[in-house]
Amino acid sequence: MTQTLASLAPAPRLRGLAVLLFVLALAVLPLVLPGRFWLHIVSLTMIYTIFVLGQNIVTGWAGMLTLGQAAFVGMGAYTSVILTMQYGVPWPLAALAAGAVAGITGALLSIPCLRVKADFLSLVTIAFNQIFFVVANNWMDLTRGPMGIPGVPAMGAFGWQATTATQQFWLILAVVILLFVIVGRLTRGPIGRAWKMIRDDEIAAGTIGVNVTGYKVLAFGVGCFLCGLGGSIYGHYMRFISPDMFKLEESLLLMQMAILGGLASMPGTALGVFLMIAIPEALRSQEPWLITARPGIAGAMLVLLMIFRPNGLLGLGETPPVLRKLRAALPWGGAK
């Protein structure tokens, strides 16, 4: 099945055209969409795309099963909100600082993690997520704890603020396009190849000349930077943050979206978010149970995916080892 799909993929030039048309269609969306509600859903979807892109770098490209990305999103959100509100730092700087704090923390956290076996990495990142939640929930002086921080200023710079939904939409779209271009360039070149080599065969990667530990730490750093930066946008878009926005459940959702759409795939990243955020949010008022049932639906989808399309909906190539391991854990999935 993978071959058929590979041959169906459009030629590079056509693909570029398709992406351009898609982006243009997104850009004019605020002019045609009826009302704020729909615009909000697309904005939220784009923000989540940043988180999942960060997750996908660590898990899809570099092949490490991290289950605590929401903590880095939260770390970015709190960094940015506190910097802007308490220290008057302009938002663009605060957003970069948010990315940097999350990225550096992620890289530092990964160093001891890489010494333990791959499966323990998931446990360590889960633990980190829980610790982050407990700290954010209890450090009243800094975070106001469970009450959260309301009245977060809107994104903006140099005296201008993105106050209308349309302005926010375009600002987020611009950031997402920029990040996709950057991640695209990184992953298609030697750095992305080194990540994939590590994912596919660490030993071979080492003997080829890849500094395995170095590239793993780099993947964590970049992935967590994206989550932190996305967290800043999230906080200043929602205008309110609280610890329960960054719980472990959120991390699991990010992982599910990355796997569902396709590991190591940028269009897959967007598709995964569309399915798990845009659709349930859009149907929130008519079908409120969808949000509640989302973890269950996601779980069922993942099981079906592992059986029928182990590389994710848009993932091509061989089954990544991460999924092979997950699939082997299924009672009926052991046989290939």
Binding site: R193, K196, G206, I208, G209, E318, P320
Partner: protein
Amino acid sequence: MTLLSCEGISKSFLGVKALVDVSISVVEGETLGIIGPNGSGKTTFFNILSGLERADAGRILLKGRDITRTPPHRISAQGIVRTFQNLRLFGGMTALDNVICGGHKEAPTGFLGQIAQTARVRRAEAEGREHARACLADVGLGAYENAFTTQLSYGQTKRLELARALNGRPRILLLDEPTAGMNDVQAGEILELVAAMRQRHALTLIVIEHNVPVLARFADRIVVMDAGQKLVEGLPGDVVRDARVIEAYLGTGAA
């Protein structure tokens, strides 16, 4: 001139002595064959050479420089490249991408340069791709650029791994049973290919091989290993007639 010399290498795993005081050296441009029964320590020797395992004792000198405790990626950077007996290809990539990966050391990996896609980065990427294409064509897989490794036959995957190693621009190429699982015709083809590459890239080769007659034609010198020790070392013609070799392979009385 001695290019690589291993002096008194010992290694044991939980009390099992895999290598006992093994000294092997190679001269620039030479082809050294290593033979020996299963479990005689050949692959362990390769693993230590390429930095995957650390020797308990002894040292390895590359052009006089001690590389005993150097991690794999730095050893690779100094020109020692290897293949694996059981193949370690990258399953999630096409054949061409596998070979491109082999040239990782040559690629510019500066973070900002990659994001900015500077002229230098673009040029290096294009050159790397062309070099990889040439390597793939050299091993006869030019038509399989876009095939995933699972779509290739066993013989083709062996060639692919060779192409990937060649794209690493090795000075010393370690081949771990390049003809394992092949019939004599296929094995002959592969070794012919390796000989052509040896000529063209001025390679120094260390080859682990089970097929003694094939190796005897191909190698300048042969080391025979048994139970972690170097049993015999010498010219191919002498080695295959050595009583100790025959004993190790066929048992006592066979001579």
